[in-house]
Point group: C2
Chain length 464, copies 2
């Protein structure tokens, strides 16, 4: 009996070693195909340089949808289609403007001489503009919400300047973003509550340049929807130093407004499963970007990686057992309507989604895959570590997902994964004019696709 | 007895947990100090923008040595000095020049029309120039040494063009470099053996631009020391395509030569150990760079990281038990005389070196620490993994060192470690004009220093 058991075990172990080595060979093939013949980089060049910015509702987004559909077809999707959803339609409406006025003491006399300085600002997404008359008011510096509360009696009629610093000491920059992000999200309404006329927010970044970083704000309907801008870090430092010495008035002119909701689309390509066509694996990124940049890392990278996985699978003649959906989501930045619609349709059709994976943290060098699912599923996920690690994702970690696939997880309990690239450079360019094609490295972008493709290959083969 | 054992174990385990948590707190302090108050980035700006290129023997290197000594002192070294060594003194001697001449068929007639195209080339380091008369000859394309051998009868009087491709499919780009590097090192002499007049080598890179990458070549004294250049990748592709269609003559003009050996220096700063002053830990990078770039990643980064560790230790009031030497080595690029001198002096003085660690793979985001030592030492090194991983070096791997600390290892059997940053971007800029300050990210640079500092702290505290 013991002999039988031993030989059974040896057989199993042989099978498992054999399977691992076959899997390892397949993943190497995928990697070689992507690193040698990859189209992700040239696709990203087209998306960023020929199409450019593509906020929900913009003509750029319409162009991007049509282009995405064509690339899905060319990459070899069995079928590809646009999935309609209504999207918010916020427009910047003009060129954001900010000028500081202050005084400096004249030489030899006690006269104060007025000085002016332009500030590099960008209106926050979803914010209301001041219109051409602008807002002019004295600036009140607060370094935190606590300080706002302490100074609440001084807020009325002022422009509140939140100078909350992006915390350099977090090694993962996303922790600093989570920490500082509340000032962009809640800052305007919390200042409006005490009668502020407008808000300036220190950009959520530790960049060494002066580019301001936009991003969505969320007004609390209980208070006035006052104009709000983000300011570049050098100007933020200047303004905060100036305010130690003297009063500063700022004139802000912004023009943001919402037009009526309009039609947007998720772009979907599909490879039909040969054995379990009803089991669906979704991989995606979001096609929309902020209007002040090319959206190369956020999230052009995720989109071209998604389509690259499709292209590589087809180029290698890989026939998936399960259905794989390649999705470019609409409207992540200021509404999340694309992700919501995708989950809504999946639920209405009774689809069975076994995994959704998203790349929306930049096209930087891959370091980890994150995973959210049951403990049993996590153990299975972990068992693939040795197969994936050689391609850069040396860590398989608990907790993964993405804004666009979140609704699928909440609605259908679909397990979620994320590509976690290195975070050091992301907030240098996030939502800023510096998020351009030139900031993306070809191989880093491609390796992101390789690591996701490896996971998809394994889930397709073994289920989850 | 069992109870006693259990309580002893519990006590030990408590001590160990306590020690780990104290170490963890210290390493966090170091990290916070470097990420918040770090001077590495501004020091690198000075080194690259105020001093610039600094090949052994150049005036740039002399300026860099003096500057390095000053920064060592300002950073708080107990003592700092220059360690003299003789260095080779190769000079480029002029502006490298290459022009291709070929013919294209005229429209409507059978006449061939001559065409010319400038090629972006850089003479290989240590190579002999052609002088102002230049070399003009027909180009013979070979894609490998095997092809050179097969075509050896055609080589005489030609310019051999090694178009050996940098292998994109290696995930670690250093593997591609090791693979392709032989063409730069041995290519000129292997072609001269068969009578070639000069050599053009495809740059060791997978960059998407056309910048040529220099680096040292090694002539075999048995053959003529013919001129040799590296060519940018786009021009390499053009030349190889052109050679499928028609003959191409190239005129090369280069001016490289060796002047007599001259005086160079290692720059050394030291913190004296309080308990075991005779046990020395060395950390360093190399101060010299190729003459065609700012040497920001190679290896300005390693130098400013080295001095940043010194600065941070002093700023935190850390008193090392062991002596820590911070070394900016001379002449890594084309002679290794600095590293050799450092080991020679250490051996002559009977110094006891317990670890040497080098950063010479770029100032990119840290991923691993490599280690070369005994198995027992490696086990100790591995036991620190959880303490270091939170700062980016999630892998502690076997095999580590650096060109400059190699002689110490060979002479005194000193264990060696290396900072292994992410490799994807390194060969985009390595030895090319694009190795500039702007290619370095502040936080990635700083985190490299953090991870090395953590290892040095642990070796200082616990020995090795």
């Amino acid at each position: 009996m013991r002999k039988l058991f031993m030989s059974l075990m040896a057989g199993l172990s042989f099978c498992s070693v054999y399977a691992q080595s076959a899997d390892s060979a397949w993943i190497k093939k995928i990697s070689d195909e992507i690193l040698r013949n990859g189209k992700a980089y040239e696709n990203l060049r087209h998306l960023t340089k020929q199409i450019g910015a593509r906020l929900a509702g913009s003509s750029g987004m319409v162009k991007a949808e049509n282009w995405g559909l064509e690339v899905m077809k060319k990459s070899g999707a069995d079928q590809a289609w646009l999935q309609e959803c209504m999207v918010p339609h916020w427009v910047r409406g003009g060129t954001d403007y900010a000028q500081a006025t202050y005084t400096v003491p004249a030489n030899k006399t006690k006269n104060m001489i007025p000085q002016q300085k332009g500030l590099d600002v960008v209106a926050l997404g979803n914010s209301n503009g001041s219109g051409p008359k602008g807002v002019t008011a004295q600036v009140l510096l607060v370094n935190s919400f606590d300080e706002l509360e302490a100074k609440k009696d001084q807020v009325k009629g002022k422009i509140v300047f939140y100078n909350y610093r992006f915390n350099d000491t977090y090694v993962s920059t996303f922790n600093a973003y989570r920490d500082a992000g509340q000032y962009r999200g809640q800052g305007p309404s919390r200042a409006a509550k005490y009668g502020a006329k407008a808000v300036i927010v220190r950009s959520m970044s530790h960049a060494v340049d002066n580019n301001p970083h936009t991003g969505a704000t969320r007004y609390d309907s209980a208070f006035e929807k006052i104009p709000a801008v983000a300011i570049g870090l050098r100007d933020a430092d200047w303004l905060s130093e100036q305010l130690q010495k003297t009063d500063v008035n700022v004139t802000l002119k912004t023009y943001g407004k919402f037009l009526p909701d309009t039609i947007g689309h998720n772009v979907i390509g599909e490879l039909k499963g040969s054995e379990f066509p009803d089991q669906i694996i979704t991989v995606g990124g979001h096609l929309d970007s902020w209007d002040n940049c090319e959206g190369a890392h956020d999230d052009g990278a995720g989109c071209v990686q998604t389509m690259e996985i499709l292209r590589a699978f087809k180029a290698l003649g890989y026939t998936p057992k399960r259905t794989i959906r390649f999705v470019l989501f609409a409207n992540e930045e200021n509404g999340l309507r694309g992700g919501a619609k995708y989950a809504e349709v999946a639920a209405a059709k009774g689809e069975k989604h076994i995994l959704a994976i998203e790349s929306d943290a930049g096209g930087f060098t891959p370091r980890a895959l994150g995973f959210t699912g049951s403990d049993e599923q996590y153990v299975k996920f972990l068992s693939w570590k040795e197969l994936i690690a050689p391609y850069g994702c040396t860590e398989l970690v608990k907790g993964g997902g993405g804004a666009d696939i979140g609704p699928l997880n909440r609605t259908l309990k679909t397990p979620m994964a994320s590509l976690n690239p290195d975070t050091q450079r992301y907030f240098d360019i996030h939502h800023a004019r510096s998020d351009v094609f030139e900031a993306v490295n070809k191989r880093e972008l491609e390796l992101g696709a390789v690591n996701m493709a490896a996971l998809i290959y394994l889930v397709d083969k073994y289920g989850l």
